[in-house]
Symmetry: C2
Subunit: 562 residues, 2 copies
């Protein structure tokens, strides 16, 4: 459960990923023309769990949930914003990173999933820059340590005040015997292009680097004395706003709270149901296709706002996945089902594809891209069941392609007069949704082979029955009605009987074949090493650095290198 | 120490990586014209450690040391060989993979270093194919499970006997709750291009896949019934031999045992000394440059054989690194020093560069490439000290570039009348020695930036003093004589005080910036996940799968997914 070792401060049983600016306790969002300012002013008493205080602008998952929410709103509610300033509301400290007492008392699972979410949030900041023209400037007015500097690393431009004391640092290794957990090592070398030996010095220097050296080593982009800081920020904001590719749009769409009905055994949204079968350790997610054809034009889409089916479902699915990740650690597999008309799903895809240059259509595709990536990175077995009445088409077919295994029924089900199930591909399957390795799910599936992709493309928009889907390599197994239930039950039981850790490692390797990107390196290489280190006594043992931090006692290390 | 939990079966104190075919207990090497046959016939009683038997052609590090040695000999002693057949000497079993009882009783450090070495051996098999035209065919006559199939995956071509029972499998996840540890998951998707969902089925199916399905899923290249197996092997060997780019050479050079003097505090080779300062947890490796100019021509080089300085030093350095990895887990840092004339080193580089098309010159450069990669992948802090009298030039300058940190003295040392130290680059620094990420160490250092590489290239063959080296970005710090000793002492003390695990993770991330290759993915992504899993109770706890394997008791798992 959410807390495991701890209780949620709000007394509730689950971590909730829904919030809005009126409820923020740690961030302030202010929009002024094309520049937004996100000010971090952490409420020390506002920790998500009991048992620690968020001093020095340190953060926990609750702080990051607000940051993630703010960036979603900048994309949908504030389309005129071209530059975001990340600033601190506290004097002489930008951000001290993840709260150490929170980390020291958190379960392994919470630590790992906390890091995963913060990584996704920083990737979303970079995605907003690359794909939506929302540039971020980080203004560091004092200490930016660990996760504080890693947040800065997600920005396009870093300004550090030059006051003789403000510094950036990644002190995790010398102080805590863990790694920077939010992409720091990868971004320092691969994004900032800091020379690897200087990066080594930087990452082993507790007090960090300040002033001119921080620029020379490429750790920040510019420094400014206190008296010139505001002028520098304004100048840089204007410059980046001018260069932004974001189209001028006055009005965004509002993101009201999700409508959802939460029960002990699941949750129901407008277009998605989640059912937990806890004894079998399964969560079944049933997605419902659109009930009406796409709107006539982009204005009508804008008028629908969050009720526009693709956006509505994406938001619901995102919320459900995060809920399972953090609140249901014992669920072994996510079983994706769908209900509806595949052709109607593809009609929405075609609508988005035709209007891909429109800001809202683009944001909705980008949202789906992020949600699908979040699913790829969810360490549960992903299964898709393609049954009569399902609508795994276009965007929804991505769930079949994301699954570790997919099963499709051959023909009709006994006692069910619905037609045999079909799959359908749309243009969106071929370019809109790259995974974190930079490839589409189809390209990852047919790694290094053009022919199977071409064969699939030739069937665009056609309903594919089980035989066709199997021949195209789009599903793992096709089964007839006689075998369907038993085979799937046996598979799910077997899967649940395997070691949870071994499955996490297996799936993390098999899902991401081929090339790597900075993003996939962060989730694979860096996260895997961090997971390892988070298990080692040097960090988490009673004499380990994470446990002893702040006690005045030095950690005692096993000195053996493996 | 080597054994930690176990005693070496030979009663010795250290694992020795030196062997030769007359001493092999597990492999037989037979050469017939351009085809060599390596037959695995493991001596059950021949385990490296006490406490287990190597049944069913399962292996431990001792078995793999022989395999690695055999491939070195195929490259240097048997230059006429163009095809290697990997076969089993036992009926109905090819290889059962790493011995499970050995793994269950091994220390974490031994497991990790065992996997690292076996990975390097398989990479060397692929390197021999790609760069030396030595193609490998794996002939699977029965069960090829786990590491047995992973060995096959290193081959260019896999033939599986089609007898209704012979199968390939990666049963680690279902049987042992660990991952295939020798690149299996990465090679299945990235080399064999097995579809990821089929790979999932394969890796969770204890009994594996046989016959036609093994070909359809791309797990093997061909199947043959027993009666046609030998004909298929012969045909394929002839075909691959014909296509090989290996130049026709009749005579190789012999690889006699290394001359070395081992003492409790170090070891001395002809061109290398290793000194352990155990209290400080340091190993100082002093490499000595050549004492004579390069030979007149390639024939003279061939006449020198293993005495040819670059080859002699490469072999010694390789042996020393492996010794430290497996036998000295408590050493925190490797400090590289050198003695000699940098221009003489570059003269050898130029000799190898001019003769790069000659088989032996090529093999020697490739050997250095592998040794340098082994150093990159050694999880100890790497330090280079550039002092008066040193010869870090060309190939030896790679050690400065491989180091996590390098220090160079400005001017002379007090009371030392030798000239101030210099660095020197050769052509070899710009192309001969790619790291496992596919980039040279210079390109990794100046990731994504052409200009600093161009500036360095302009100084080719020129002695670079400390100021020049610093300006070119080739060393981390330059210090004058007053600061030298204290600064380095403080750095090394500080380094030794950090968590060994955190440093392993830090260095593994910072050393390999930028792109990834199959090889780097194996060492980074796959190994990191495996290291994590090797720590988890589901594998190694008293109720874990690795501990309970073969006891008849089922493992008990913590079902939480993280």
């Amino acid at each position: 459960m959410a807390g495991e070792d701890r209780r949620l401060a709000n007394g509730g049983g689950r971590i909730d990923f829904e919030t809005d600016p009126t409820r923020y306790r740690h961030w302030k969002l202010a929009v002024d023309g094309d520049v937004a300012t996100l000010t971090l002013d952490v409420d020390e008493k506002g920790g998500l769990f009991e048992g620690y205080e968020l001093k020095l602008n340190s953060y926990d998952l609750g702080v990051d949930i607000e940051l993630a929410d703010a960036f979603e709103r900048l994309r949908f509610e504030h389309p005129a914003v071209r530059v975001v300033l990340l600033r601190s509301g506290k004097p002489r400290v930008f951000c001290a990173g993840a709260n150490i007492r929170m980390l020291a008392g958190a379960s392994h699972g919470h630590k790992v999933n906390f890091c995963k979410f913060t990584n996704e949030t920083r990737n979303a900041i970079e995605d907003a820059s690359e794909h939506s023209g929302v540039r971020t400037i980080c203004v560091i007015n004092g200490t930016a340590a660990g996760g504080g500097y890693e947040l800065a690393l997600a920005a396009d431009h870093i300004i550090l005040v030059d006051d003789g004391s403000a510094a950036v640092s990644l002190p995790e290794v010398p102080l805590l015997a863990v790694l920077p957990g939010t992409g720091g090592l990868t971004r320092v070398t691969d994004k900032r292009l800091v020379r690897r030996d200087l990066a080594d010095v930087f990452c082993t220097t507790e007090e960090g680097v300040k002033g001119k050296r921080a620029v020379e080593w490429r750790l920040v982009d510019e420094i400014a004395p206190n008296t010139k800081l505001e002028a520098a920020v304004t100048a840089r904001a204007q410059e980046l706003a001018k260069k932004s590719s974001r189209p001028p749009v006055a009005m965004g769409i509002a993101l009201p709270p999700l409508e959802r009905n939460v029960t002990p055994d699941g949750r129901t949204y407008n277009h998605l149901s989640v059912a937990f079968a806890r004894a079998e350790r399964l969560a079944t997610l049933t997605l419902r296709g659109p009930e009406a054809p796409p709107p006539a034009d982009v204005d009508a889409m804008g008028a629908q706002g969050v009720a526009f089916w693709p956006l509505a479902l994406a938001r619901e699915l995102d919320d459900a996945i995060l809920d399972i990740r953090l609140n249901e650690p014992d669920i072994a597999a996510l079983v994706f089902k769908s209900e509806g008309d595949g052709a109607a799903v593809v009609a929405y895809d075609d609508f988005l594809e035709v209007n891909r240059e429109h800001w809202l259509a683009r944001e909705i595709s980008l949202k789906w891209k992020r949600v699908l990536k979040r699913i790829d990175l969810t360490s549960r077995t992903l299964v898709a069941l393609v049954e009569p009445g399902s609508c795994f088409a276009g965007t929804l077919a991505e769930l079949v392609l994301a699954a570790d295994r997919s099963y499709m029924l051959i023909g009709e089900a006994d006692g069910d007069n619905r037609a045999p199930p079909t799959l359908m591909l749309s243009e969106m399957n071929f370019d809109a949704y790259p995974m974190s390795n930079g490839l589409t799910r189809l390209a990852s599936r047919f790694l290094g082979q053009e022919a199977p992709q071409d064969r699939a493309y030739a069937e665009l928009g056609k309903p594919l029955d089980a035989e066709a889907a199997e021949q195209l390599g789009l599903v793992t197994f096709t089964l007839d009605d006689i075998d369907w239930e038993d085979e799937i039950r046996i598979f799910l039981e077997e899967r649940a009987s395997f070691s949870a850790d071994a499955l996490t490692g297996l799936e993390a390797n098999l899902r991401f074949g081929g090339p790597e990107t900075m993003e996939s390196k962060i989730f694979a290489r860096l996260t895997a090493w961090q997971n390892w280190i988070f298990q080692r006594p040097n960090a988490i043992g009673d004499e380990g650095a994470l446990k002893r931090y702040g006690t005045g006692q030095k950690p005692v290390f096993d000195t053996k290198r493996v």
